[in-house]
Symmetry: D2
Subunit: 349 residues, 4 copies
Amino acid sequence: MIFASDNWSGAHPAVNAALARHSEGMASAYGSSDLDKAVEKRFDEIFEREVAVFFVGTGTAANSLALASVNRPGGVVLCHREAHIVEDECGAPEFFTHGARMAPVDGPNGLIDAANLKREIARFKPDFVHAGQPMAVSISQPGEAGTLYTADEIETIATIAHDRGLTLHMDGARFANGLMASGLSPAEMTWKRGVDILSFGATKNGCWCAEAIVVFDPDKASQFPYIRKRGAQLFSKTRFVAAQFMAYFEGGLWLDMAGHSNRMANRLREALAASNSAREAWPTHSNEVFAILPRDLDTRLRAEGAVFYEWNPPHSMPDLTSEDETLVRLVTSWSTEEADVERFASFLR
Amino acid sequence: MIFASDNWSGAHPAVNAALARHSEGMASAYGSSDLDKAVEKRFDEIFEREVAVFFVGTGTAANSLALASVNRPGGVVLCHREAHIVEDECGAPEFFTHGARMAPVDGPNGLIDAANLKREIARFKPDFVHAGQPMAVSISQPGEAGTLYTADEIETIATIAHDRGLTLHMDGARFANGLMASGLSPAEMTWKRGVDILSFGATKNGCWCAEAIVVFDPDKASQFPYIRKRGAQLFSKTRFVAAQFMAYFEGGLWLDMAGHSNRMANRLREALAASNSAREAWPTHSNEVFAILPRDLDTRLRAEGAVFYEWNPPHSMPDLTSEDETLVRLVTSWSTEEADVERFASFLR
Amino acid sequence: MIFASDNWSGAHPAVNAALARHSEGMASAYGSSDLDKAVEKRFDEIFEREVAVFFVGTGTAANSLALASVNRPGGVVLCHREAHIVEDECGAPEFFTHGARMAPVDGPNGLIDAANLKREIARFKPDFVHAGQPMAVSISQPGEAGTLYTADEIETIATIAHDRGLTLHMDGARFANGLMASGLSPAEMTWKRGVDILSFGATKNGCWCAEAIVVFDPDKASQFPYIRKRGAQLFSKTRFVAAQFMAYFEGGLWLDMAGHSNRMANRLREALAASNSAREAWPTHSNEVFAILPRDLDTRLRAEGAVFYEWNPPHSMPDLTSEDETLVRLVTSWSTEEADVERFASFLR
Amino acid sequence: MIFASDNWSGAHPAVNAALARHSEGMASAYGSSDLDKAVEKRFDEIFEREVAVFFVGTGTAANSLALASVNRPGGVVLCHREAHIVEDECGAPEFFTHGARMAPVDGPNGLIDAANLKREIARFKPDFVHAGQPMAVSISQPGEAGTLYTADEIETIATIAHDRGLTLHMDGARFANGLMASGLSPAEMTWKRGVDILSFGATKNGCWCAEAIVVFDPDKASQFPYIRKRGAQLFSKTRFVAAQFMAYFEGGLWLDMAGHSNRMANRLREALAASNSAREAWPTHSNEVFAILPRDLDTRLRAEGAVFYEWNPPHSMPDLTSEDETLVRLVTSWSTEEADVERFASFLR
């Protein structure tokens, strides 16, 4: 009953097999091998257009370098107040951008509210140096609260961003989960609706360490190789990332794994809905479920071996729980076992 | 006949097997799993003392974060003029330290000359803010030129550094090759002779992606977890690094691989010594051989399928080659085949 | 009728006279002249203890370098959401700290609410690297909204900060105005109540360019000379700052100027209170007055030659004004003429 | 007999008078006053073209922000090994550029040798990310060694830089001294020969604190206002810089002061040439003279009240002095008195 995080899972056997298969012989390093090229080609196919792809080692690196690549002096990134780039990356985005500010935008359920976004951007008067200058909007799909933007919502946000000359970045640490939950195609969930640059995560969904930055307009990526190398994210044996991606995409494995993960989460949601003591904190759409548990149930679950994290209540919901309740996060993954879910569910009844 | 770089090799089968073995089940993320702890313990044993160990993804990250952790405002790192941190990391050390300067110290064969080091440090008068302040000395063992410091030379440099309150950092991207070539123990090659912090590389020697920063005085590492996370180098599934290290150390695999690699290089050296057209550019000691080739031999070797890099002549040897010669680097690895070496050697005759 | 900002004033004649007087002869540069030392001594007297003083050129530099000097990796500064360091310094604090985050804390009237501060700090769990680590609390006295903390409020905030090992920084860009409005002594408004480091501004109050960072525990300032020089804030002819400060303190000129400025602001407040069309937006205490004006009055005032800035409504008060109203800021200075104030007041009636 | 540095002088009376004159009344802040505009216009006239001008507070700021404005990821600045930006700015250029490297180029007498420059640039292969990418060449006119480039030498260097797409920056901390010594016009010494961006210093030559960055192609300066503000170099009362420049240019005062300063230095050179114990270390051209003094003469001069700095021997001249000699720097300024020079000269005989 381990629902701590999807990064508590290991790698899918197919990923390990690919690593073993591709470990033989010599291959040119630093991203120039045939395998690297083949994977880049797969990205083109998946996104139905030519894209520029850069492998990196962590989701934090993907987000931070993506934002660094579009920063301006005094730059400001508009993002949700509870975004991963604000709450969970130890200031890496600020560090890699040399001090861009992550300016909080509020909105329910971890999603940026378009009207708020518009108002926050409008606070920055053109050529008023004192306030700095907005340079990007960053959204997470799905976000830290496990929720999803619709394609139309993405487009609305993109339009607001582009009207002011801002880049739209998407943190897709759980991109496959977002795809499966929304039913959108990769293209439709991104560039067709205005996303300019994507952090494409595979680590949480069955790889060891496979993250990529996807720049939809390759012409805008000319400085990226230097940004990545300077950021200590250019692996020498890049084929080890490429091999993971190869297995990940092969036969739709990535979507199968995300589908399983989402189904397991949905089963937890159903159990919460049927519970008369616990309840869902807010509607979630992918493989994260946020639950309010009575403290005694929390204690009992942990005694039975369940592992999950207590969660900081979002800024917008300071009174979410009473004294004898607690807010927790339950995350499922490609390797979550159905029996575990059912056992957990049985305690919620 | 591929002697381009040791990072053109893949991973040893034992490393892949360890990855497969450890990919099952759930394990706590971000460095807190049992496997992570077990590997940390192995480092203590290898270095015969308690050390603080931090896994990172690239050698550039290891060097850059190591230096960042000991930096001071206006900090200066004394290092060889041809050091990897100067020539090959795209300014990452400067970037992660927020602008520390890599101040060049000259010395023959890629090694810092102690007298030069002393003189360069003396240029910095205490409390003279204009010049900045030295904060570390960094040496590579073996260095970019494939050469080694003796234990006594390390100690001499350490004493010069410590007399001025500077940290001594060692770039050990090819640490195992250095061990095997020098016959020193890990402890003797480092902290027993005054090294304070080590970049411990395993990627070039049979792993996929396994680098570690070893801080010999764990009390000095209290801020390092934040430095690493902010630097986007904290992997979520750290067991994938830990598993590689586990296999790497198991039964002395790491030393066996480095020994093979060094022997193959030595064979190339012998062939150069016996050649009447090519010659060694300077004495090298581990798994890199620098050769001066007649251009027509260079052409012929490449036509026969040999792969190796032309090399920038060191600053100290601008007239190393004549018009019809070229300086090249030949690197061997754990997977270099003896037959390839012999075939290459046959062309040198 | 110019109430745009107190930095629209020039310098007091006594300041110019001091510059002329001290411009003769040679004096040692970079802060080591007798005059520099004499001014440092004056700071000791004013604050009733030995302090470390560092002159810089702008208030932005003072705040940014002060925070840089106490930063930690992944550092977070807790400050009011509308603080000058957030809204008006183009990301300089983030830049000079290499990416520290300015984390917003809410509170009425531009002042941090102690309970909110406590809750925000508590969100950072010790040793949880993902969130970064708080490193300082920064308050402004008076703040951007023209309001003041009481000595007890400062002490309460200091206690919360110190309990977590955080530095308390005070942005005193209008320090003299704060002193005169509060009736506190310099020591009582700062270190006696727990302030650790102060940005001491004189530019807005009758100097040309005279700002100082005051570190109350000189032992903690050992790296500051390097931080300042690296930050390009070490003037060569520092006596030009010292001479300004000398004149500024001479005979209590600084307090006289601030007193005048505060009185002029108070006169504007009285006029607003008596007005039947305009009103004070929130209570202000020093030399800034925030007013809600009917748009037609705003237009008329500007037509009569009045100069003042429209103001972004604070985040906490989005509905401060109706469609036909506007929020404006009126600032007085040492050189504001009483006749101008009276004329402006006459239009408010 | 104070020849320590030209920044030991105060400000010219005309500069103080201008400050007093312009301190009255209100003027819009942050560079937008009429006076600011008038001075910007003066710069256009002086350089015979439209330029973009940005006032800053220190020469270090001018150099650092100039380089920051043209930096690229992994950027490298080619400069003389003894350049002020390397030796005397505490790493500020690295800091403000977020870690650009100042790559040393050798050349006699503190001047870059064009052939060396070409070779160093050629070490950077296009698209080879490991080495970083050159982004600018920086020269000083006059340089730290007091020497001057001819207009043709500047053009040669500019051509080498531009052929590789690099910006040519000139550190003109003593720009007026360079003009007077070379006989060139401001335009001829800069953009007409290929200089792209200039640090224009006036502080050392009779101002208190007046430095400017001049961008010869104003179209390339669009981000500069943000770079300056973020760098904490946007003064609020910018008219205090503008007033200094106004007086500085008025009636050619700047050239008169520099002419005096150069003449005083030349008198020292003549005395050295006539001396049978002391000698010039290398030929210098403006207001700095480097002398090799017998240690007993050094002692005697200091006993007589002479003040001057011992100098680090340049890297290229380690054996400049014998045991009983010392290398010193003598600097003259606008306020150096002829009698002092003559008295000093009398000791050299």
